[in-house]
Each structure stands twice: as C-alpha cells, then as structure tokens.
Amino acid sequence: MNILMVGHSGAGKTSFMAGLYKYVGEDTEGYGIASKKESQKRQLSRMAADLTKGQYPSGTDVQQKYEFAFTVVGDELMPFNWIDYRGGILLSDDPDESDMNKFMKAIKFADALVVFLDGEKLIQQGAKWNMEYDILISCIESSLTVSHNSWFPISFVITKCDIVPDGAKFYGLSRFQSLFSQIEKSKTVGAMLVQCAITKDLYHIPFFVLAYSIYGGTPIYKNRCVEAYNAAVRRAEAHRPTSFLGQLFGGVEQLLSGIASIVDMEWETEYDKTWAAEYSAQKQEQLFNQLDVCQKELEEKLKSWSKDDLVTIF
C-alpha cells in the first residue's frame, strides 16, 4: 500500500511526518508503525526528538519513500510505504524531468492520498492561492485516473492551525467545494478533512490521517488474503487424495516417506502437500480476521473522532 503526501513547498509535510513518527513511536492506542529501514528509523527518530525540542525539520530535498509496517500491539499487520516528495516541484515552470516523472508515477501508484493545505494561506480571501489549489486538484484528478482495487481515501490536512487565529474562516476551501460535494456522492472515493497543528506538545493529529489511510487500504490486504486463501484451498484440493484408490496410494506413499526420512531422504507426499496448503489457508484466514478486526476498530475510532468534531468525514 502506498500513501502519498501531496502539498506545496512549506505546507508542513515533513513536520507532519515527524509528528506522526513521534506519536505512533510512543505506541499510543495499541497501534504503531515500524520502520523497515534502519537509516530511516534513525532519521525519523532524530526528527521526532528535534520536535520535542521545538525544532521543525527542514523540507524534503528529494523524494523519500519510507517503508513502514502498521503494527497492532507490537505485531506487524500490514506493510505500507509513506511517500514524501519535494513540494517545490509542483510550482516549478521547469521541473526536473526525472523528479516530475517519479512524482507522476507515485501519484498513479498511490492507494491513499494525503493533501496538505497551508492554513495560513487558506484563511486569506481572494484568488491569490487558487493556482496552488488547482494544482492539488489536478494531482487528485491524476490519482483518480487509475482504477483502484479498493475504495480510495483522501485526507485533506489543514496545517499550521496553531498559528491560525481562533475562529478564522478557511476561505480557500471554497475552491475544493465542488470536489468535496462530488466525493460525498461517490461510492469509490472518500475524504476526511482535519485541522492539524504540530508543536512539541501537540502531535497526535497525524494519527487520525494514518488511521483513515490504513482503514481505506485494509480492503486491499483483505482481498489479497482472500486470493491467497483461495489459491491455497485449490492447492489443497488438487493434492488431497479423494477416491478409495487415491487414499490407498496416499497411505502407502506416506508410509514410504516415513521410511525415507529414516535414511535422511526428503519426500514430500501428496498428503504433505495437502496439509501445507491447508496450513497456509488457515494462516491467511487468521490474517484476514486480524485485518477485519483492525478495520472495524479503526472505523469505530473514525466515527468517534467525527462525532467529537475532531475530523470531518465526507
């Protein structure tokens, strides 16, 4: 699963990342993320530690793909990639072709999108930032061009809310109004809007976004489980002796393989293959159930956050 962050330079993508790692790194609420690469783990830990001191990370110079696993009570449940890229690329008249191609490819392969909207800009009236908003809409359009295997979640994150005056109106959101109204009517795309602040004491909001994206991506893994389960069941059926003669031969083969093992000879019988496939099917079933439970728990959490007005879900 690929979760892609889209936003203009300075919108707060990298700080969001630091906040996310700091919060889930504390293994809050039984959920966490485990970094698959040691170097990334060090980098993220440093960013999270700096955040504690009130220092924000500098923006991303090159596209970064963080390889994570979503963990439940310490157990890895599903792998996912979190992609951060250089925000400046979107407004450049002459973007580096290779960077741009990488970005366009990342959009096409995204299974969830996190769109960053700078709160300081959103509160301004007028059309000054419409170009930036339209480019983000174009990025969303691009990600929807690909047919997804699952429902497609888009999180809209209004950043820097700690420096936005209380009660300020986000005028810039009107540019997204037609998109929001379409999402409300869509059965294949969903969206969540969240106001976010990342400070040394306040860094839990990225978890809402992670939960929403993972919730949206769970069906992908559940489908994979179903496919793997069906393949294992088919394999078991293909190897399982069913007729009387087959069972007789199977028994004899089992006996011979027992004798072969005495002389250290490996012999995988039809029954062995059947049992291995059955075990694999059982494992997939377990994983499916874990994913199902996780999906339901996340759904409950999202509902309660929505009820408490912490997030707006379309």
Binding site: M131, I135, S138, E141, S142, T145, S178, S181, K185, S186
Partner: protein, 339 residues
C-alpha cells in the same frame, strides 16, 4: 484510451483562449438536474500550471499570446467522480491551417491527418471574422469558405467520416448583438454547406461562445468584463457536445455487452440444467456444477453492472441534452433539432 477532440481555426479565432477559460470554468463543475456536478480537469499538474497561468494573465488584463507550437491537453470528464471520458484536445498553433510556408508542410500534414483519429471536430471562427465577411470583406469570406473546403476534403478521406460529429463554434460572440449572433449563425450555416446542408448525413452543431462582455484586444491588452463560469458564455457547450457523442457510442457498446452477456447467460443456464440432469454416479466422478454456477454468477454480475452503467449514462445524456438544446443549434442531415 482517450477520445480525441481536434480544434481547428485560423489564427486569432480564439481556440487557445477558449481552452484556457474552459479549463478554469469547467474544473469547478457544471451542475446537473440530479444535483451532481460534471467536471473537466486535467490530470497533469504541469498542464494545470500552464493553463492557470494563461487564465491568470487574462484576469490580469492581458490576452495570452497565441501558440507558437501545437499543444496537446489531456482532460478527464467526471460526474460525481465517475470517469465518463478522457479527452485529448489538440490545439494546433495559429496560422498553421492556412499556411503556405514550406517549413510548415510536415506539421500541416499532421494537422490534416489528425482528422482521422478524432471523435469530434470543432471549428472555431471568430465573430470579428464573420462580421467582416458578412459586411463584404472577401478575404474574411474566403477564410470561412476555406474551413468548409477543408471539411469537404476530410469527408473524402474516409467512408466513416460522416459519422464523426462536427461543431462550428462562433467565438468572441460578445462582439455581436443578439440579432447579429443570429445572423452570423445563419451566415455560417450557409457558408459551411458541407456540414449543415440537407442530405449531408452529418450531425453538426453550431454555437456561440464568449468569455465575457465587451471584451477587446488592443495590442494584447484585455479590456471588458471577463465572465468565466461553467455555464456562462456557453463555455461548456463544445465539450458537452463532444461528450454527448462519445457517450452515445459508449451506450451502444454497453447495450452490445449486455446482449452478449445475456445470450451467454442463457447458454450457461442451459448447461446447468443439462449438468443437473446427468446421472448422479457420473457426476460423482466429474462434476461441473460449481464451475457453471460461478460462470452464471459472473455473467449476472456483469449484466447488472452494465445495466447500472446504462442508467447512469442515459441520465447524464439527458442532462447534457438539455444544455445542448439551450446553448446550441444541432442539425442532423441538415435539419435543425427542435428543443
């Protein structure tokens, strides 16, 4: 694969400005009677940047310069986020159409060849040109007749050409009074007999578009009032006209797919009856019931999916029809459709 719409017009006919304005206006969505919005948005952020900058130039009182080279734009047309059509619009650079310069020959040939792969052809004619032609300017009249000649050439290229709908877009219509627009449309209809004549067996549309009111161009300076909103100035009409015919094709395909799936389903049902009537001893050894039932399920799913699509397409086409009948004159075989 994207459907191709080709824009043709002489230099200064307003093709590029139409694209810049349309992309802005329609990205915000055209409302439909069912409450859903139809949006036209480029899925390429680089193109969005280019299109927005050109639009911003207009807002800031400057007309964008004409294209020095031909440009392809990609757009997705969605309704309630369901993709209805991917569109490729080719905006050939101004002046290429009637160029006699030898250096332009290769590119010009590309332009003429582009006719063939196009789902819809749009011919842009500026209101200033039409007005001049109506007032006896022979060069302007020649220009308009030249478009008709090109279209006649196109008809000779393929036997299928008559199935491709064509629309003539009277651009910059704010330069004319309501009465003059009506006269200009009649004039264009007469001049472009290859499209609008009786017995042509062609579906042709005629519309007048504008980006605002009292717009003028004095040395690149834009004066007047820009009005770039989804339904203002008929900005949506050329795109909806194109969409209407592409969706018509899609409906035909969907009906075909339903028919073929229904016949396959009947055959599967017969197979199942046959299978169930077989000797149970034989079925113990070779049993096809599960595979036939799964075939029946997938065929039934495909049929209901297509039927749902058909309902959606028909409802969208009805919505488009209302817009088209209000904003354009549609001629089939030279006879105007009445609202």
């Amino acid at each position: 694969m994207a459907d191709k719409i080709s824009f043709y017009g002489l230099s200064g006919s307003g093709k590029s400005c139409y694209i810049f304005a349309m992309s802005q206006a329609l990205s915000q969505g055209v409302p439909f009677p069912d409450g859903e919005l139809l949006t036209v948005i480029t899925p390429d952020p680089r193109q969005m940047l280019k299109l927005y900058k050109a639009y911003e130039k207009m807002v800031n009182g400057q007309w964008p310069a004409g294209n020095v080279e031909s440009v392809n734009y990609n757009f997705n047309i969605r309704k309630a986020l369901d993709l209805l059509m991917s569109l490729e619009i080719t905006d050939f650079r101004g002046g290429l159409l009637d160029s006699v310069d030898e250096d332009d020959m290769d590119e010009q040939e590309k332009l003429f060849n582009s006719y063939k792969g196009s789902s819809v052809l749009l011919f842009f004619v500026g209101a200033d040109k039409v007005k001049a032609a109506m007032n006896g300017d022979s060069a302007a009249r020649f220009n308009i007749q030249y478009l008709n000649t090109l279209y006649e050439q196109y008809l000779g290229l393929s036997s299928n050409a008559r199935n491709t709908p064509v629309m003539v877009v009277l651009s910059k219509s704010d330069m004319l009074t309501t009465n003059e627009v009506s006269n200009a449309k009649n004039f264009l209809k007469d001049q472009m007999a290859a499209m609008f004549g009786r017995g042509t067996r062609i579906t042709a549309g005629l519309t007048a578009v504008t980006l605002g009111s009292n717009l003028t161009n004095e040395g690149g300076e834009l004066e007047g009032i820009l009005d770039i909103t989804p339904t203002a100035g008929n900005l949506n009409i050329p795109i909806l006209f194109s969409l209407f015919y592409v969706m018509g094709k899609k409906i035909e395909d969907t009906v075909g797919s339903i028919q073929s799936n229904e016949s396959a389903l009947s055959s599967s049902k017969r197979d199942l009856t046959k299978e169930l009537s077989r000797n149970s001893f034989l079925r113990f050894f070779v049993n096809n019931e599960t595979s036939i039932r799964s075939r029946i399920n997938s065929q039934s799913t495909a049929i209901s999916r297509d039927k749902e699509l058909l309902i959606k397409l028909s409802s969208t086409m009805n919505g488009i029809k209302q817009y088209l009948l209000r904003g354009a004159d549609i001629y089939i075989n030279g006879i105007k459709l009445q609202a």
